[in-house]
Amino acid sequence: MRTITIAPKNAFRISVEAENISTDKFAPLTLSQINSLVVWQGNRQKTLSDLFTVEGDDAPATTEETTIKLIGDYSQVKRIGEGMTAGVVEVQGNVGMHAGNNMKGGLLSIAGNADDWLAREMRGGKVIVMGNAGNYLGGGYRGEKCGMRGGEIEVRGNAGAYLGEHLCGGSIRILGDAGDFPGAANQGGTIFIGGSTYLPGAEMSKGTITVKGEAKVLPSFLKTEIVQVDGLAFQKYTGDNVDNGKGELMVGVGSS
């Protein structure tokens, strides 16, 4: 197992785009090659070593055997772990936008909070956030028909608005509250929200959304039966009937 540890040299005022911080990119490279990978800060093209210290084993390894540890504040660093297929990226603090973009495998774990667009268009692998996640968690790009297609996301805190927009597969589990419109246009993914939310499942055609807390439900959902899951009572709805959707929405009983 090869572990590479990265830390920012300074705090970033202007955000940094670092899609090269990924297990796939690091795996075949020596440390000095990793040091010279390109990152961008605004319109300035820089190398990784301009902005970060890089330490760890020098010898290349397979992607599966590569672990990247990110120490310090990455809340202004975007696109970490983009497209990774295996291995582990471990963020010990907060992470910026678009972490785990188009991720296909491996593990991305974030000890702090994640900014917007975490795991956009994810296809596989696993993402765990100990803190909160921003908007568009597991969403798609603007104008696309498909967001996340596979894999697993777990957020221990709260999530922002539009989580799982255009979800086409995979599962998202939020232990806290979720912002407005979770699972909009869901086409087959699974969402669990431990807390409360607002207008879940707008225009969903397939898939399941479970809300343990309270949820304002759209007038285009059809109330069906009360079901028991793990000893808890849920009101079941089907919808979104504006599009003759066949999605399932379950909301903890006791809410509106």
Partner: protein, 566 residues
């Protein structure tokens, strides 16, 4: 400039693969010249490509961009010392259009559909497309003034209006799209045949088409009417196509060219009564073209993958959107037209798409005379224009077609005749379909050939026609066609091996047709009333100002011939 030792295909001048030197001076082909030498020894040399039907500029195209950021992100190329940034695949930004045409060896492309009212926008975009020469066809088929003239059988007033409209739009020719259907769409309807009455206007699509064709010939316009049939895109529509063509067979062209050019024939060569029993009627259409000489067509080839459909046929687009449950933009233009935009993905395993793919190829291969068939994909309706090398290699290689066929829905051989087709086109056929014929069909005298006086637009490919087996080496051929070794535009090397070296602005062609003042005077009475009562802008602000065409190339037509006729 001297282009040395190329194997030249210039069918308009009877040159079919001769080894020769070419000379360019002051942007034009000449008999002899000095200067920069380009080594083209043994390489394929043709005139710069000409695209006679492509949606490259205007409201529709920009609507496609605005509703498709998902498409824009696909083709992102950063700015360079020479180039502005590129984006998009089916709906590229203006810069990408110029660069991508030039890389393929194309130097001219015509926007296929512009309403007069929105022509200012079209010219803003055309001017922003670098390198290539351009023009825009003007929509007349659902125009109130046109329908009223046709209803009143006032042909001279109609001709005066066409001339006025072309001048107002700085347009090149007469485009007709689903005549009458666009007006009916103003209240959500359509016409079902060329003989239906257009609601509120008491004319039929057939009368509109014939009227505009006659006006077109009265005005001696360089291009013929350019027609998108009624019922386009619907099963069984081949009868509409043949019956409509038959309406025009006895008309005399005013120039040595067709009387009607049929846009994207593939979409109007459908048999069957529904999508279930949908089948190719390409043989019947090809038969008609083989037996008649008044019509030309462009293929409108469909390729698998992503496309963005955009057309003035708005009811068709509404149907597309409902059928595919996709995003839908519509845009009606007061007193003139309607239009729509719907993204599309064509799938080789979908029988309908696979049959459509085959129909385009059948048409091109079954029509015997390549001068009658232009190679297009109706960009970006059938596929984006960057895929022309795919279409060309499909036409040139039976093995390639067989490879493709093997991946399609298994019913394709039963619903089309493509499987049995042995014909493989040669470089002469291709040079005609992509250069000589589009120029002749459009009436562009200085395009599509390499004779003295022609524009100095030349494409040179890294292919040795005397060595390469275009049937077996289709992979190699496709690659070479995608990035010309040299593209020369007006005597300047604009692209070399895929790299853009220079971005001179292209010209915009438009046609100024003179008509008797008395006809215009009669016309203005009608128009002033229309602007006072119905248009949402003043007549003073209607016509495209000269400021929008800093590189205009005006082609004169009209009056002298009118008086001869009289």
């Amino acid at each position: 400039m001297i282009i040395k030792g190329g194997i030249v295909y210039d069918p308009a001048n009877g040159i079919y693969g001769d080894e020769m030197d070419l000379f360019i001076d002051k942007g034009r082909m000449v008999e002899a010249a000095k200067g920069e030498e380009i080594d083209a020894r043994g390489l394929l040399v043709m005139p710069g490509g000409v695209d006679a039907h492509s949606h490259i500029a205007g409201k529709k195209v920009n609507t496609g961009r605005i509703m498709r950021p998902d498409d824009a992100r696909i083709g992102t190329e950063p700015r360079t010392a020479v180039c502005r940034p590129s984006t998009g695949y089916t709906v590229p930004n203006c810069y990408a259009m110029g660069y991508r045409y030039a890389r393929m060896g194309y130097t001219t492309a015509f926007e296929a559909a512009t309403p007069i009212l929105e022509a200012r926008h079209t010219h803003e975009e055309l001017e922003e497309i670098p390198i290539i020469d351009k023009g825009a066809l003007t929509l007349f088929g659902n125009n109130w003034q046109v329908m009223e003239c046709v209803r009143d059988k006032d042909l001279t007033k109609l001709a005066a209006y066409v001339a006025w409209g072309l001048r107002a739009a700085k347009g090149y020719g007469v485009k007709i799209v689903n005549p009458g259907g666009g007006e009916a769409w103003g209240f959500g309807g359509n016409v079902k045949s060329q003989n239906d009455i257009v609601p509120n206007f008491d004319v039929t699509p057939a009368e509109i088409i014939v009227g505009l064709a006659k006006a077109n010939e009265m005005l001696n316009l360089p291009h013929s009417i350019h027609l998108h049939f009624n019922n386009l895109g619907k099963p069984g529509n081949y009868t509409t196509a043949i019956e409509t063509l038959d309406l025009l067979k006895d008309l005399k062209p005013s120039r040595m060219r067709q009387v009607v050019h049929v846009a994207h024939m593939q979409f109007s060569a459908y048999g069957g009564t529904s999508w279930r029993d949908f089948e190719s009627k390409a043989p019947a259409i090809a038969d008609y073209f083989n037996c008649h000489n008044h019509a030309t067509m462009d293929m409108g080839q469909l390729l698998f993958g992503s496309a963005t459909t955009m057309t003035a046929d708005a009811p068709l687009e509404y149907g597309n959107a409902r059928l595919t449950h996709n995003k839908w933009s519509n845009h009606d233009i007061e007193l003139e037209e309607s239009s729509g935009v719907v993204p599309m993905v064509y799938n080789r395993k979908m029988l309908v798409n696979a049959v459509q793919w085959a129909i385009g190829l059948e048409l091109a291969l079954l029509v015997k005379d390549p001068w009658k068939v232009l190679m297009t994909t109706d960009h970006p309706n059938g596929s984006p224009f960057v895929n022309y090398p795919e279409v060309i290699t499909l036409l040139m290689s039976k093995p390639k077609r067989d490879l493709e066929m093997a991946t399609l829905h298994e019913q394709v051989p039963k619903r089309t005749t493509l499987a049995g087709m042995e014909r493989e086109m040669d470089w002469t056929d291709i040079a005609i379909m992509t250069r000589a014929a589009p120029a002749r069909v459009l009436g562009l005298e200085d395009k599509g050939h390499l004779g003295p006086g022609a524009d100095g637009d030349v494409s040179i490919y890294d292919l040795r026609p005397e060595e390469v087996d275009t049937s077996l080496d289709h992979v190699l051929v496709k690659k070479a066609l995608a990035n010309a070794k040299y593209t020369i535009k007006g005597g300047v090397v604009v692209s070399k091996e895929g790299q853009i070296l220079a971005t001179p602005p292209g010209r915009t062609f438009w046609v100024d047709a003179a008509v008797p003042q008395a006809d215009t005077d009669r016309l203005m009475v009608d128009l002033e009333e229309k602007f006072a009562k119905y248009y949402s802008i003043q007549i003073a602000n209607y016509a495209v100002q000269d400021a929008y065409l800093p590189h205009a190339q005006i082609i004169r037509a009209g009056l002298p011939v009118l008086s001869e006729v009289a």
